[in-house]
């Protein structure tokens, strides 16, 4: 079907500002992705899954500028011993990065493998993204596959001694960055990937993740404190038998964030947990869009999202559990909750279940409301001032999502950042 005129024009305008990298082992994948973008068109306001989030500033040809935000907090994961890989405004910074050598992992820069004819990542690049386009189109991810020039491809073959930390620094107020990562966890291998930083004025990230049987990946991401930045991140994961994928995202500030996660459970007994905590103030708009497909038997999926909103902030949650007829004994759980600290905020949610297998236990819950006055009064009656009591209850509200992170040190770090956010707003 031909695209609507408006969509066609917008898509062409965006594409006219970009040049397709040519040659190398990824050329074919890039051409196919470009053709996907042309067929689907970039997101428009009338698209079902863009009902609650305006895509305009994410799709317009030239990115809106965003001031670089200066603050005195140390980068969030600095206290942990990690292998650091630094990008500045979406470009790899070799000097600031560690040597990419670590036992049990093979790390390459995307632009380096581009020139090679054969590379293991060729079989994954653009492949998982393309699989994730059905039934809901994700054109910004296809755009990323076609045009992203930088990123890392990580192959985990063992259990490396420390986490890999991808740091996204933002220095130019007009930067428009695209990064594309491919992560392959071999059978039985395990790694933790930490990501932090606002990345750019406008950031489009696409991560393709393939976890083989018995592999495990833990991802924790903090999207920086810049107020004006915009981000559309995409995560496409495919899980093998008995594999584990746990992902947590912390978002504070940012005028626009759209985090999409598309996960397919292809091997029996696999486990996926996707969680997020976000706190927003003022013109903050935060959107979590999650699509989990159960194909294999006896898998577990959990989605836990908590949003604290104040002063006109908007929180969006669109989450789906799709259980195919082959996925008997599925355990699917989803919870999305908003705490609105004042009257101007909004919470818009579409939590979906689509189930074709009968021997399953799936549930979802969504709640929205103000802080519990009864609990507040109880704390006050014990001498805790109202503001402290509000903060305590707000943190308690966020705790369920944060506790999805297995590592207690990281939990403490995240909680500390959330506390600071609350204190700054007293």
């Amino acid at each position: 079907m031909a695209l609507a005129n408006l969509k066609q024009t917008a898509t062409e305008a965006r594409l006219s500002e970009l040049t397709l990298p040519v040659g190398g082992c990824l050329a074919e994948a890039r051409r196919a992705a470009l053709s996907r973008v042309q067929t689907m068109g970039l997101p428009g306001r009338r698209d079902e899954y863009w009902k609650y989030t305006r895509p305009d500033t994410l799709t317009q040809a030239i990115a809106p500028t965003a001031a670089v935000f200066q603050h005195d907090e140390a980068p969030i994961f600095d206290e942990f011993d990690c292998l650091k890989i630094v990008f500045v405004d979406g470009v790899f910074d070799a000097e600031a990065s560690d040597d990419l050598q670590l036992e049990g992992v093979q790390i390459d820069r995307l632009s380096d493998i581009e020139s090679q004819d054969i590379h293991w990542s060729k079989d994954l690049y653009g492949v998982l993204e393309a699989r994730g386009q059905d039934p809901v189109p994700r054109p910004l991810a296809a755009l990323n596959t076609a045009f992203a020039k930088d990123g890392v491809v990580i192959r985990v073959t063992g259990k490396p001694s420390k986490p890999i930390n991808l740091i996204y620094n933002h220095q130019s107020e007009s930067s428009d960055a695209m990064l594309h990562h491919v992560i392959r966890i071999d059978a039985g291998a395990e790694v933790t990937v930490l990501e932090n930083g606002p990345a750019a004025a406008r950031f489009n990230k696409c991560s393709e993740i393939d976890i083989a049987d018995g592999g495990a990946l833990h991802m924790i991401c903090a999207q920086g404190r810049d107020h004006e930045r915009r981000a559309a991140t995409h995560l496409f994961a495919r899980l093998g038998e008995k594999s584990v994928f746990k992902c947590f995202t912390l978002t504070v500030n940012g005028v626009l964030t759209r985090n999409e996660a598309v996960v397919e459970l292809l091997g029996d007994d696999a486990v996926v947990h996707i969680a997020g905590a976000c706190v927003g103030d003022g013109d903050f708009h935060h959107d979590d869009t999650v699509f989990i497909t159960h194909v294999a038997e006896n898998c577990e999926s959990r989605q836990v999202f908590k949003k604290v909103l104040r002063n006109g902030a908007t929180g969006v949650f669109q989450g789906k559990i799709l259980v195919k007829s082959t996925a008997q004994k599925t355990d699917g759980y989803q919870i999305s909750q908003a705490l609105m600290l004042d009257d101007d905020s909004q919470f818009l949610a579409k939590p979906e279940l689509e189930i074709y297998a009968d021997d399953v236990a799936c549930s979802h819950g969504t709640t929205s409301g103000a802080i519990d006055e009864e609990a507040l009064f109880y704390l006050q009656s014990r001498g805790v001032p109202r503001r402290d009591a509000t903060n305590l209850l707000t943190l308690a509200f966020l705790a369920e999502a944060v506790s999805e992170i297995g590592n207690q040190d990281i939990v403490d770090t995240i909680v500390c950042r959330l506390e600071n956010w609350l204190i700054r707003r007293l």
Binding site: S325, A338, M340, Q346, A349, L353, I355, G365, S368
Partner: protein, 507 residues
């Protein structure tokens, strides 16, 4: 077996249910057709057909103009495609838009003169004799002695309303209950004031179509402070082949009044799909309360998915006044395709909306049903309880919207959607939209999907029930919250329907 005795069958299943389930046998009970000479308008939809329908109903010019305007709007509209239902394209020009039994042209003097086939139809539908007489239009039937419980019935047979029972008694209380065509003639001021104010002409494709071609339906007006002395009931039946039924219901509960309204539907088994596109509008003024209960048992098609009713219905209640109350209860077991979202506009402060639904799909049935709760006023409350049961190759979707507007301070919503799957070739889906725009509003939504509990089934079977009866019993327990919301007479019928609808779903 001592341990077994302690196992609990789902709460709410009593002996009555068990008996009801046992007693009912056979497939679709209302699947016979009545062989009556019909008068048809030509197939297809043109302005001429719209004019003809208006003329047959002896409508005034303003009504015809309203219809023609709707027809023009309809031509510009597209059929919606967002629902999770899949059916062959409908040729709207291959439908009859008007059909009525020929015998209605001259009023019979006594039951002897009534087409016996029509009477047979009523008898099969279980309508009492006196009501049969009135429905058949027998003169003086109103004075005949009544039998059994009092329920005023308005029956719509294909395109026309056949007559309304207990009219005089209702009139005494000031309640107007008649066919909509009669209301247009007799109470134009009320119809003009309210028609199309809850479901506007251009609301959606099917509602617009209905506005152009509705041939009949029911009209209720309950004056201020009146508690309607009996339950009002409409019976819809599609009989003629290739006929679309487009009835229109308008209910007005004036300040401080109360009415309970029951709607039942049946259609004969035919292997060609038939179209049904109804509109129900309810206006509820200050302190008034309306209960609207539906048992929808249109022909669902055969076990291979052939035939059945395509049911595209727009139902909406507008709680205009403060403290107005609406309660929708529906048991949807029929139709090949169901597309239906009885909604509540909670405009008045402290107004309340409730939606209780059971949707059962078996074989190749598809249902996409749910509700909209639009909270506009302060302290408005809504409650949604939806139970979806899917068996065979059926697809069952709950689709709903809860919207809390910025001015709906302290509004509350609680939603519980549960789905049950029987067999692994069917689907159960939940698509809620939740939009909260003020922080004093509290929304809670919960949904679960699971299969029929094996322990419960085993318990029933160990007491001698076969698997089908056991499933029906357990499913009735699963639906208890909704069945309880139905008026007594309907609840029994609904329990039986649950059992019939699931026939052939196990083993």
């Amino acid at each position: 077996m001592a341990a077994l005795d302690q196992t609990q069958v789902k709460e709410g299943i009593d002996q009555e249910t068990v008996d009801a389930v046992r007693e009912v046998g056979g497939a679709y009970k209302h699947g016979w057709a009545t062989d009556i000479e019909m008068e048809y308008a030509p197939k297809g939809l043109t302005t001429d057909i719209v004019r003809l329908i208006s003329q047959k109903n002896e409508e005034p010019q303003w009504m015809l103009d309203w219809r023609l305007q709707a027809y023009d709007r309809w031509l510009t509209k597209e059929e919606p495609s967002w629902a999770m239902v899949d059916y062959p394209e409908i040729d709207f020009q291959d439908q009859y838009y008007y059909a009525r039994p020929k015998s209605m042209e001259v009023k019979p003097k006594s039951l002897d003169e009534v087409d016996p086939k029509l009477l047979e139809t009523y008898k099969k539908l279980g309508i009492p004799l006196k009501e049969q007489m009135i429905l058949a239009g027998v003169e003086g039937a109103e004075n005949a002695p009544a039998e059994g419980r009092k329920v005023a019935v308005d029956a719509v047979f294909d395109s026309v309303s056949l007559g309304t029972t207990f009219k005089a008694e209702l009139a005494e209380a000031g309640v107007i209950f008649c066919s909509i065509s009669e209301a247009i003639r007799e109470h134009p001021e009320l119809v003009k004031k309210y028609l199309g104010t809850v479901v506007p002409v251009s609301d959606n494709f099917y509602a617009t179509l209905n506005s152009a071609v509705f041939s009949d339906g029911s009209f209720v007006y309950v004056p201020p402070g009146v508690r309607c002395p009996m339950e009002l009931s409409t019976y819809f039946r599609i009989n003629a082949e290739n006929t679309g039924q487009f009835e229109r219901t308008l209910i007005i509960a004036d300040k401080g009044s109360y009415v309970s309204y029951l709607e039942g539907c049946t259609a004969p088994a035919r292997d060609i799909a038939q179209l049904h596109a109804a509109v129900v509008e309810i206006i509820i003024e200050e302190d008034a309360e309306v209960k609207y209960s539906t048992v929808q048992n249109w022909y669902p098609g055969d076990e291979n998915g052939k035939g059945g009713i395509y049911n595209f219905v727009t139902k909406r209640a507008d709680c205009r006044g403060d403290r107005a109350k609406i309660m929708w209860t529906q048991v949807e077991t029929g139709s090949a395709v169901t597309w239906k979202y009885p909604s509540c506009i909670l405009r008045g402060d402290d107004s309340q909306g409730e939606f209780y639904s059971i949707a059962i799909t078996n074989n190749y049935q598809q249902a996409d049903t749910g509700t909209k709760m639009v909270h506009l006023g302060k302290n408005t409350k809504s409650r949604i309880v939806s139970k979806g049961i899917s068996a065979g190759h059926a697809q069952n979707t709950y689709r709903g919207l809860v919207s809390m507007h910025p001015k709906a301070k302290n509004a509350r919503n609680y939603t519980q959607c549960d789905s049950l799957l029987i067999g692994n070739k069917c689907g159960a889906h939940t698509v809620p939209y939740i939009e909260v725009k003020n922080n004093s509003a509290r929304v809670e939504h919960e949904a679960t999907t699971s299969k029929v509990d094996d322990d419960q089934l085993f318990y029933c079977r160990s007491r001698g029930m076969d698997e089908e009866a056991a499933v029906a019993l357990v499913v009735n327990g699963f639906c208890k919250d909704v069945l309880q919301a139905l008026p007594m007479e309907f609840a029994m019928e609904a329990q039986q329907l649950v059992a019939i609808s699931l026939e052939g779903s196990v083993g």
